[in-house]
Symmetry: C2
Subunit: 273 residues, 2 copies
């Protein structure tokens, strides 16, 4: 009997994991015990969810890769959805916390002057890069998984990500607002939206576009090079003057007007024939 207490916030831990939180013993030489089982499941799930997506990854493939019993997922996490959230939380939570900490420190260092956009963007990028470069954790896998989760239609994923990102986004938006006081708040919201989109999309590393870039395989795997190129690109967009004085919107208007005219012409031609 004895139903799994997976809903309990803090249940009695097994003997193998009585290390205080904060110690980085993680799970070295820990090959059995409940905590080790949970971690093996999380690791396998992370790479399999990354590779095939949430729906297309079966619990059987996860438990097989983790060398644990099928029922272990439901016992330790409750359900497949909760497992997925646990996979995301494990790395996303520290990363976003890292971002906030770094932003706060940089703000304190720059006080009383406002932080530059360069430094704010740095606070956004560095924690992601740190995660990607950490060899202990499957950081690269995770960032890909995260990028995919952003585009996943499943409601529970979207809800979860919104909640996870909400606080961080607000903080960064006010920071950027201070750095770009001339920029209307709504325009800033758009640009921040574009930045987060480009970041998550780029880190997802969809190889569907690898042929666009003609990159050396090893180079496209280096996230540092990637962010080093992405950051100036996004920063230029962030700092650009308001769109209503831009050349490109004028070109858009020209073509839109031409299409409208063509459309009218085609319509009258059809009614006459």
């Amino acid at each position: 009997m004895f139903r799994p207490p997976f809903k309990a916030k803090s249940r009695r831990l097994p003997a193998t994991s009585d290390a205080a939180p904060g110690d980085n013993v993680v799970s070295l030489s820990e090959t059995r015990g409940a905590a080790a089982t949970k971690e093996r499941i999380l690791d396998s799930a992370e790479s399999l969810f990354m590779e095939h997506g949430f729906e297309a990854t079966s619990l059987r493939s996860i438990t097989a890769a983790a060398a644990v019993n099928l029922a272990a997922v439901n016992y330790h996490f409750g359900s497949k959805e909760e497992l997925f959230q646990a996979v995301l939380t494990r790395r996303l939570d520290p990363m976003n916390h890292d971002r906030l900490t770094l932003l706060t420190r940089l703000e304190a260092e720059a006080a009383p002057k406002a932080l530059s956009c360069e430094k704010i963007l740095t606070a956004l990028f560095i924690p992601a890069l740190t995660l990607a470069r950490d060899p202990r954790r499957g950081g690269k896998n995770f960032l890909r998984l995260l990028g995919r989760a952003y585009a996943d239609p499943a409601p529970f994923i979207r809800q979860f990500l919104s909640a996870q990102y909400a606080e961080m986004i607000v903080r960064f938006k006010t920071a950027f607002g201070r750095a770009l006081p001339y920029l209307p708040r709504k325009e800033l919201s758009w640009r921040l939206h574009f930045i987060m989109g480009a970041l998550s999309y780029t880190l997802a590393g969809t190889d569907a576009l690898k042929l666009i870039a003609e990159l050396n395989p090893h180079e496209s795997d280096d996230d540092e090079i990637l962010l080093r190129r992405l950051a100036p690109f996004l920063l230029a967009g962030l700092k650009t003057p308001l769109p209503d004085v831009s050349d490109v919107t004028r070109e858009l208007d020209v073509e839109l007007a031409r299409r409208a005219k063509d459309d009218r012409a085609r319509r009258t031609h059809l009614t006459r024939s």
Copy 2:
């Protein structure tokens, strides 16, 4: 008996659809017949794939929404995967063809001078916008679906998209290369990658980030406004000087160095204790 000939490239069409290709009779007042069945399936599949993704959408839900028999999908398209490809092809093929045509025309108009980045970006955006605004076709649904397909891990989707985009990407890359001759080809590849990513991500319209933008609901649905904001943003990034003289990379280096130092300090502290 009479097995479905869904592999035959051009099989005899039913009586209701003997219109020559190119006529835009589409399927008005066509509520029965094989062609109408195929189109109803495509419409339902488009919106359901958009809403739930490929894996999470069942053939039963598609056929129910289309009011056709369950077996109709396998009869007319062969399999679920082929149906998905048909859904993408139906709109993506004309849209990319439209892009190439528009680019060619603009190049001819500007000859012998090189095309400006603004005009090239226009050739990239206008066909997508035209598709989105066409009320006859579920353009908006489709663009969302497309954005999601870009992030889908399924191999057959990635392969398919690569093939669909290959030609168009090459043409646009050479056009941008002519407009930005000072820019190294590899850097251009990166920036084009970022542009395609931001475009697909933005058009996907993931509402996970709606709270970032604090937008009016109706405003976030207007793809024209969206592209009007996105275009100047991306254009500024495209035209920005090389990253090795950028301020933001310097800031990235500062923080990376600091992290490396902290890391060394932490390591020595641990070995001493």
